[in-house]
Amino acid sequence: MLKKNQSNQILVTSTRNLIEIQSIQETMPTYQIKVNGESKTVDVSEDTPVLWVLRDHLDLVGTKYGCGIGQCGACTIHVDGTAMRSCSMTLAQLDGKAITTIEGLSEDGTHPIQEAWKEVDVPQCGYCQAGQIMTASAFLESNPNPSEDDVKNAMHGNICRCASYSRIRKAVMIAAENMD
């Protein structure tokens, strides 16, 4: 099901018709989406990944492009609180659910995960870290008292090319303690 403004009558909700829509060049559906607590309207083609909607259309560039196939985790966002790969989902798949990006994780960068990241000084190049932080924060919501092995399992899907893994581990454990 698509959640959108019906700015163009051609747009309907069945998958079969979506294929037809793609063949009509000028079609640019207008979507209403909820990002970081605000309602936003965007005009993009059906297949545009949420990642590029955030980056190019909403100027929320904290969410990073790493691989485009859900393998590296750099584009991780929260969809109704669950960590998901924004490179591999379209607005249609959001189905009205609310998005939180790194920019909206806290008002002023004081989420316990962000504070722990600063305390431990996790990043080297820093590029993957928004995705790491979003994965870690969603994980701690579901498991507030993790063991170190739980943390390793939860963070295994996010690549850090600079290999700041021990600091990520440490920061997640500190945040877990501080969230109690």
């Binding site: 990073k64 790493g66 485009g68 920019e103 000084d121 190049c125 932080i133 090319r161 700041s164 990520i168």
Partner: protein, 742 residues
Amino acid sequence: MSTNTALTFSRRAFMRTSSLAGGGMLIGFNLFQACKPKAAPPIDLSQLNYNDFNAFIKIADNGAVTIFSPNPEIGQGVKTSMPMIIAEELDVAWKDVYVEQGILDTENYTRQVAGGSQSIRHGWDALRQTGATAKQMLINAAAARWGVDASECTVSDGIITNAAGETLGFGDVVKDASMLEVPEDVALKEPKDYKIIGKDAPNVDIHKIATGKPLFGLDYKVDGMVYAAVVRPPAFGHKLVSYDDTAAKAMPGVLNVIKIGEKVRGLLAEDPSFSSKISSSDKVVVVAESTWQAMKAKEAIKAEWEEDTSMESTEEHDKILTDLLDGSTFKTERSDGNIKKAFAEADEILERTYESPFLPHNCMEPMNFFANVTEERVHLAGPIQTPAWKAGLVAKMFGREESDIYLEMTRMGGGFGRRLYGDFVLEAAEISSVIKKPVKVVYSREDDMEDGIYRMAIKYRIKAGVKDGKITAYHLKEAAINDNMYGLIPNFFPAGAIENYQVDTANYRSNITTGAWRAPYTNFLAYAEQSFFDELAELMEVDKIQMRLDLLDKVKPEEDERIQYSPDRMKEVIKVAVEKSGWGTKPKNIHQGFVSYYCHNTHVAEVADVEVENGEPVVKKITCVVDCGIVVNPMGALNQIEGGVIDGVGHSMYGELQFENGRPTASNFDKYRMIRMKEAPLVETHFVKNEFSPTGLGEPTLPPAGGAVANAFKAATGNRLYKQPFTKTPELLKVPSKEIIG
């Protein structure tokens, strides 16, 4: 005091102050000229302003201090550590310092580089002198106002105090100070008086990183900017014949489809040495209103390619490199004594061959760059390790003055050598010059992995001769794709330790582009040599550590100035590593592997602890001992060390890019294995404490890691590993079942 005019001139040439229109003072220096005091620049000093300096301090009337960091930030931490060194000598509190990234000035400077772990080492003296000079000028201004001698004044945290106890802040005297003569022979602090150097300082960009603020090249945006995706040759050795853009042009958001390549070929014709680094084929470019539209429309381009040169493969490379090692086309890089005679007289000979694959850099931020070529200027922005080099090439490409190029350096989402080459800068500039718009070229991950400038495949063959229980001969042969080891490496350990010693190199010219990859050559050579020494010690039935120490005893750098490493500093890291790792004292279930290595001016020893789980060896911990001289920022230094070690473990375990028909067989992380959280061992670091000038840490802990793991795996499994990645030979990673039972 005698005056050395040449020194006076050069000093004045690299250091200068000026008043700011809105109040305050700037002090700048030319970092790299400062390193070479004899090269006096032909410039009119009276014409200098703050833009003439590639790093500087800005002090406002209210005393606020901004320090500009000169070098590109790639994740190595220099944006934090270089300003720390200035702040130390300036004597301001680090918490009161605001750090900004400096821009490139192509007119006055020839080198602002992130590479070779050299920023801190080269900057150390100049950065300290700049801070100390600025401080002395502020003191002189305060002393003049008080009518006292400057020598009675002291400074702490930006406050100047005289003998009577009166105080003035930097902001109170900055206007006067900016008009004073630049003092010479300023005193530098003794290490014991350091307040900032040696203390933990978090990354200056940490808040921006943790909150997702725009920092990287991919985040860079200006009004009216469009996005470009490039259709690249389907394999190395191809060139473009024709293309059909009908479908692509009809897609939403597509603005232009163009062909590029001519400009780059012009550069390649002028300097053929680039041809192993940069592809010369034409490429088709889709320009669109958004990144996704450009990437999508790119897929709709129907391009026809033809084979230009041969389609190479890993299988073929493997044979070629072996043939080179077996052949006689070597260039001798260093030769001591007479290896031929020594081998003929040896009681025992050990010869082993080590193999490594191609590696992509896989920076997490795919290659990208912004360009806006206008009649007025060429505006470039993005992640680049060699901004000055690229600005020069872009100027040459368009036949323009280098002063027309304005280049902003963004933070880089990793570099590892890939961003030294800047082929993407040239692409962006050529595209912008054709479409006459500000444009950002963005590589997909597939572009990044399939059209890389890779670490080349290399094979080493090492042969040692033993006579009367002593190593009498050592012969290292390198067969590499495209380029051979750089000239300093033949003078690394064991050069100087073995009487008859020779290093020979040979190469094969491939059409696959190759270049520097974090710790070039040593990233593989360290493993090969250190595995070899481990095996040699077993053959000789001597203690592995003692063998290294005995060899180091023979090295006399004072008699051979080519020797790059310090045997004394090497012995010290070995000694500390033995102690801290519990070498030889571990319970039976922990198998250890030892490596000591020198590269990038830093001495490192690493011990890997391996345990057997489910019949396979698992790397649990690496103890790493580092002598990098004074540690500027321990917090940042530890991060570099841990990252380097884990990167070294990861690539030696899993890293491999194979080619078939001129094309990599992996194009994204689903097919290319990178080390991840669960495989990352614990890294325990110890610094050797001394007061030597600091050296860099971006690279030197990576090369020893693979060797430490291989030697520990041997201890655990009984098998020697001669090929990277280690997972390529899974049969050698099995522990015989009796060992498990036992």
